[in-house]
């Protein structure tokens, strides 16, 4: 493997991991509630800002700041589910429009509170370099990939093995039937939302030290995460993982042959092309209620 290819593969896996964290939240929430939350990207961004706040103001420990940011965003997620998305259940158009409103609210709230400029976060892991073949990568790159893998494994185990995880899967397969057998679907709803937003916060908190914390930092991960879940198949958790990674690696590889400015377009072109061929995505889950 040539050095350039290796470098872009690692970069792609790192970016893809971030997309996976966003995509997982989107897909879990969509699976259970049929809510497509376009505001997921600003929640990612909010996670980055809160991590920065906790890191610089409250605790000097990056790990603690990441966990606190995830907890805070879980609370935000619960509030949003209660206040906005539950009342709009069943009305896709209004859910999407409300989530566009939430984008404006959070993005500008952050600008009003922290200002429009990017904030720096000095974390040792961005300085430390790890040799890999003939190249050296910042530890934070590898940390993001490893933590995402760990999060995916933990999530898979949780969904497969725990009782509550099984209940989440049941509720996303058939809400009515889940209610009939006594699964508390409303509790599933808000806890899934909290889980999804906490994963977004993890993404924001991990990327923050690497690419700075700024109001639009969630935009690209959000649209790439959306592309990832469409690519993988709406409602499929493994699809979200594979889709997110494919988007990340493909756009990184594309920079080897195309100007980097067109990196984003590559991701979308791949998504649209695959959807034209396989409208239900790679992992084709047929979701209830779709035509």
């Amino acid at each position: 493997m040539s050095a350039a290819l290796l470098e872009q593969t690692v970069n792609g896996l790192m970016a893809g991991s971030v997309y996976v964290l966003v995509a997982l939240g989107l897909v879990l929430i969509y699976g259970v509630m049929q809510v497509l939350n376009f505001a997921h990207g600003v929640l990612f961004m909010l996670g980055g800002y809160l991590c920065h706040f906790f890191f610089t103001r409250l605790t000097g420990s990056y790990a603690a700041a990441v966990l606190l940011a995830m907890a805070a965003l879980a609370a935000v997620g619960i509030a949003l589910e209660r206040g906005v998305f539950r009342p709009l259940q069943g009305n896709l158009r209004n859910q999407v429009i409300a989530s566009l409103g939430l984008i404006l609210v959070f993005e500008n709230l952050v600008i009003a509170l922290w200002g429009p400029n990017a904030l720096q976060m000095k974390v040792p892991a961005t300085e430390a370099l790890v040799p890999l073949g003939e190249l050296r990568f910042p530890l934070q790159h590898l940390l993001i990939i490893a933590l995402t893998l760990a999060a995916v494994a933990a999530l898979a185990a949780f969904l497969k093995l725990s009782k509550f995880g099984t209940a989440i899967r049941a509720a996303s397969q058939d809400r009515q039937a889940a209610m009939v057998v006594g699964i508390p679907v409303e509790r599933i709803d808000w806890s899934t939302f909290a889980l999804g937003t906490a994963l977004a916060a993890l993404g924001g908190a991990l990327v923050g030290p690497l690419f700075l914390v700024f109001p639009q930092m969630g935009d690209a991960p959000m649209v790439k995460g959306l592309a990832g879940i469409l690519l993988g198949g709406m409602g499929s958790v493994p699809g979200a993982v594979v889709g997110g990674l494919i988007i990340g690696v493909a756009e990184a590889w594309a920079t080897l042959v195309l100007p980097t400015d067109y990196r984003d377009s590559v991701a979308f072109a791949i998504m649209i092309a695959i959807l034209m061929l396989r409208p239900r995505g790679l992992f084709g889950v047929r979701v209830r209620g779709e035509q």
């Binding site: 896709l92 404006l104 649209v223 469409l230 100007p259 649209i272 035509q291």
Partner: protein, 314 residues
Amino acid sequence: MKSLIGFVAVAALLYAVPSAVREPYLLHVLVLTCLYAIPAMGLNLMLGYTGLVSLGHMAFAGIGAYTAAVLMVDAKLGFWSALVLGTLAAGAAGGAIGAVCLRFRSHYFMIVTLAFGLMLYSVMNNWDEVTRGAAGFAGVPRPAPLGAFGFGPLANFYHLALSAALFAFAVQWWVVRSNFGRVLVALRQDERLAQAKGVNAMLYKTAVFALGSALAGLGGVLHVSFLRVAAPATFNLAESINSVLVVIVGGAGTLAGPALGAALFVGLPEYLRVAAEWRLVLFGAALVLITLFAPQGLGGLIAGGWRRLARTRA
């Protein structure tokens, strides 16, 4: 007939504004209102009447704007032909891209329109040879004078923008009252039933996508001619979201909704002396509240209130 008289009266009133008010700031705000309202009316046909939530609408305004800018600056074409060609280019792009987007439904459709919007933005931002890239396309001329009527003075440009907005309004009106519009509403209400009645859904939806995009293009051409520079940021995702906001806040699926929404979106913050961030926070919150409590938007609220008032008086 009554509504036609009302329309003419309101139009006459709006045309008379510059002779009554000499404050250039107000005229500036009114021009911007018209420039926001025109693409929003196009989006209203798609979103409000047909139920197609496009999240890349302003990218088509960008196609119109950049086509006109290139034609005027590089090809030395006159403003009026550039206006027509820019509008047509946006409509053609809307038809072609719409035909792809419309193969997808509900949230797939939204995400694909979003993706196309971002790709078009990326082209405007990066194709330096043609669009001049992120720095913007400077030197877009104001319209050439029509006889003795030049468009340099703000009042005269306002008349042009207002005429275009009234034209877009008339297009909306014509569509809604035509069979074409009735088919669109039928498609929104029940696409399968409409198809069972023999409607070619794809054809109609592509047509309204093209028409909506053409109106966006018209607004885009006027916008860059007003600002005298075409900048990619005028046509990015945030602006597409703002366009949805304008339509929804004003009242999707009502004729006056987009204009009302644009007036609120542009005008209110200019006179509410608050920082830009807080006004967008307010608008975002308003958008959420409207979806929760008044899905018909302000236009719908006003129309409902009006009907109730008429009923109590009768």
